[in-house]
Amino acid sequence: MTLTNTEIWLVILGLGAGSYLLRLSFLGIVGNRDLPEWLLRHLRYTAVAVMPGMITPMILFPNATGGQFDMVRMGAAIATIAISVWTRNATLTIFGGAAVLFALHFLIAA
């Protein structure tokens, strides 16, 4: 890395301030006003619209394997979905998914 200390702090402060403004945006400005129904109807789908897209590349082309498809991660993802549908419990799902991930890692990769 060739960035100077000042440049590194510029990145940290700029990213910190920018992220904070993004988080504050609607919550800070909109405040007490009621939002129109069509906007609320779209906002109801924010989480299911952002999060699946965010993790799809992590599952199919993990950075850790240089973008190569990986049976360990794919298997763990399928198991996690199955456990979630079956148990309907977030804690069990996370523990179960992690257990399958490490089990597959030591069975297949190691």
Partner: protein, 234 residues
Amino acid sequence: MTFPRDFWLGFRAGLPFLLVIIPFGAVFGVVATEAGLNLTQTMGFSIMVIAGAAQFVAVQLMVENAPILIILATSLAVNLRMAMYSASLAPHLGKITWWERAVVSYFMVDQAYAASILKYETGPQMTPRQKLAYYMGVVTPVCPMWYIATYGGAVLGDLIPAGLPIDFAVPITFLALIVPMLRTLAHVVAALVSIIGVLVFSFVPFNLGLLIAALLAMVAGAEVERQISKRAAR
């Protein structure tokens, strides 16, 4: 807290996220120090930015010696979803005081948003103050542990065995959050459009593909909901 019950319900909902926060924060500590950041700078990232994915993107681009403006634009694009979270939380938390909203905004991380919105929309009716208590309950175990794990990773980094698939802690938690949200056809359609969209638009630079996919998915979900309620009204 005026409503300790909701605070503790949130706290309990936040605890399982530690399984992700601890390895993720520790990995960031390791990666950032190995990239050449000192301890203060590494902690500066986790305390001021408090957004794992964007922090990783920024450090990666710093290692590649990208121009500062590109580093900022790309990592802020990763965080654009925070504006959507902000908009999505506004109907629930818009009626609390301004400084409380300023505090909520600082702690707006994926886990806090996902756990809170799931509770607000599926649980029984809550007052804005109960919703605030729940939100603060979720972030209480999550956010301080993010700082501590980063510190631990930065200081003890060399002890973590190389080659473990710790990166995959993130998708596993997100799956545990998303699957219970798929409770109507409209939610399922939105999730499918999001997945297909991100693959179709993967060529778009600066992570903008995810934003395009997310916007399309929101429109798709809202449209399916509108069609279904129109048919039900007939």
